[in-house]
């Protein structure tokens, strides 16, 4: 009995620092958000309790609909190309070709750069006067390349999505390289001896065996999409006229530019609920093994 108690205490002592940080900076902010979401509050003076009015307002807010629409674009349009290009690169680099470490580093570099760096340089790449697209357009006669994609409400969100794909494809590549390492090569060898060509082995054997990698990237992609703040903030600030607004940029604007802290907290609560609900449903459908690393 006493040993059990002591064992429990040791385990808890090891966990204590992590749990303390969690409680103060993860759990408490969530509770705080929920409470603040019921207030009409400027963040400075005492707030007034208004119940669920902020939520009613949010569901009638046209900008909220835009953020949902943009997330609906963002999730598939970033996850699929990033995974596809990342997988192709990983398959190419996994063959042990010359300079594969060098290629790997090159493609991963965008992911380690700060969104400030990526955002500012891509503003320049897409600049209609000095940009790369515009220069290429001028040289080839494709004048549409000189459009101001970030300033046009019809294209702004897609322009930001392109930048996101550029930034995070190397990350998917690294995940797939890691996943490919775990595949037992004897299976592939056996298939090859049975006469399967490399397209068949890749599509029929490698691709299904990468299931946990696909799922990890899908989950990280969905969470990442919902979290997106920095790139949008630097590239378009959510504009023009909310056209590229995402939930986090909208919450930021409400809290720190319009001083509606209560309403911003409401947006944050909805954001957290969507993020948690979509992740939990993924865990439910696919099993938690791919997150916790437990044996399936």
């Amino acid at each position: 009995m006493r040993t059990k108690l002591r064992q429990n205490t040791t385990g808890l002592l090891f966990l204590l620092p992590a749990l303390t940080l969690f409680a103060v900076f993860v759990v408490y902010p969530i509770v705080y958000n929920i409470q603040a979401s019921t207030l009409e509050w400027d963040g400075v003076n005492p707030g007034t309790f208004i119940g669920l009015d902020n939520y009613v307002r949010l569901f009638q807010d046209p900008t909220f609909l835009i953020t949902l629409r943009n997330s609906a674009y963002w999730i598939p349009l970033t996850i699929v190309p990033q995974a596809l290009i990342g997988l192709l690169l990983a398959l190419a680099l996994n063959r042990g070709i010359f300079a594969s470490t060098f290629y790997r580093a090159l493609f991963f570099i965008p992911a380690i750069l700060s969104p400030v760096v990526v955002g500012i340089v891509w503003q320049r790449v897409m600049d209609p006067f000095n940009g790369v697209f515009a220069s290429v357009g001028k040289a080839t006669g494709l004048d549409w390349l000189g459009g101001s994609f970030l300033a046009d409400p019809d294209t702004a969100i897609f322009a930001v999505i392109v930048v996101n794909i550029w930034m995070w494809t190397g990350f998917s590549m690294l995940f797939y390289l890691a996943g490919l390492q775990l595949i037992d090569t004897s299976v592939l060898e056996a298939a090859r001896i049975d006469g399967a060509n490399s397209f068949q082995t890749t599509w029929r054997i490698t691709f299904p065996l990468l299931k946990s990698t696909h799922l990890s990237l899908l989950l990280l992609g969905i969470i990442g999409s919902l979290k997106t703040f920095e790139l949008v903030y630097v590239l378009t600030q959510g504009g023009p006229a909310h056209a590229s607004e995402m939930l986090p940029t909208y919450a930021f604007q409400q809290a720190f530019q319009l001083q509606s802290v209560g309403y911003a907290s409401t947006i944050s609560v909805v954001l957290i609920v969507i993020a948690v609900a979509s992740s939990l449903s993924m865990v439910r459908v696919f099993g938690a093994g791919f997150i916790s690393g437990d044996e399936k």
């Binding site: 090891f14 103060v24 570099i109 380690i112 750069l113 500012i120 390492q181 690393g293």
Partner: protein
């Protein structure tokens, strides 16, 4: 037979390079451009080669940046945020991972639930609350506040990844150490911690990427200019940079050099470390 095998192993390499080289070259355009434009002097802000390179390269921007902004101070702030948060996440995270992998822990399920909640929690979703909490505990406008928030947000990923690599160490190792009379701390620190190196490399790069690159939290929780990290310099001095685009890009290069260096240092562990995590 031999010729066909040889052809098989050689030709893919060649056509792969034929595809990879142009793809990599196009992919690198924005990176080359950051460096290229940082060499574009204010006296001649014209570019060549599709706007990627300056017409007349010069190092004058780096001199300007050095003289005009207290760049060392901002660099120091970035280091004072990133380094402690990496250390905290590594130590606190692997302690927690060890407990969850090898020790008896009450309420495991609840703790795992909290981990996954924290993993999916968007920083942008709690930034308003964090701002208020830091104010309440007297850590508003302080680097320590940022360190603690980044550590808390980095922990779930660290714990999950390190725990997986601890689980990969045979249980007999643990039992043998217990039989030898080692206590839990000794087993953790002398046996398990050193063996988790590839996972720790992943955690280091992940945490550096979060704490060094982020600008949302500093933007919201720091008001004194002299505390601002490097990533806020382009935003804080936006007005000055309008007339000096070259200097702006020089700052971007300075922001990027340290992360790229860390990446090059740990990159040989990365793939193995990630492989351990998604197994």
């Amino acid at each position: 037979m031999t010729t066909s095998t040889r052809r098989r192993s050689r030709t893919p390499g060649r056509w792969l390079h034929a595809i990879l080289i142009p793809v990599a070259a196009v992919w690198m355009i924005p990176v080359v451009m950051v460096v290229g434009l940082s060499l574009m002097p204010p006296s001649n802000p014209t570019t060549t080669f599709f706007g990627i390179l300056p017409a007349q390269p010069s190092f004058s921007n780096y001199l300007t940046v050095w003289q005009q902004n207290p760049i060392l101070q901002h660099l120091g702030n970035s280091l004072l945020i990133a380094v402690p948060s990496v250390v905290i996440v590594i130590v606190v995270g692997s302690m927690a991972a060890f407990a969850l992998a090898r020790l008896r822990v009450p309420l495991r399920g609840l703790i795992f639930g909290a981990l996954i909640l924290a993993l999916v929690l968007p920083m942008s979703g709690i930034v308003v609350a964090t701002f208020k909490i830091l104010q309440a505990i007297g850590l508003y406008d302080s680097l320590l506040g940022l360190v603690l928030v980044y550590s808390a947000l980095g922990l779930p990923f660290a714990i999950i990844i390190i725990r997986t690599s601890f689980l990969a160490i045979p249980y007999e190792t643990y039992e043998a150490a217990v039989t030898d009379g080692a206590n839990a701390w000794q087993i953790f620190w002398q046996v398990y911690f050193p063996l988790a190196r590839p996972a720790l490399a992943v955690v280091v790069i992940w945490q550096v990427m979060m704490s060094w690159n982020d600008f949302l939290l500093p933007l919201v929780t720091l008001s004194s200019t002299e505390l601002k990290p490097l990533t806020l310099v382009p935003l804080a001095y936006r007005g000055i940079f309008l007339s000096q685009p070259g200097a702006l890009f020089a700052i971007l290069v300075l922001i990027s050099i340290p992360v790229v260096l860390v990446f090059l240092l740990v990159q040989r562990y990365l793939v193995n470390g990630l492989a351990g995590a998604i197994k």
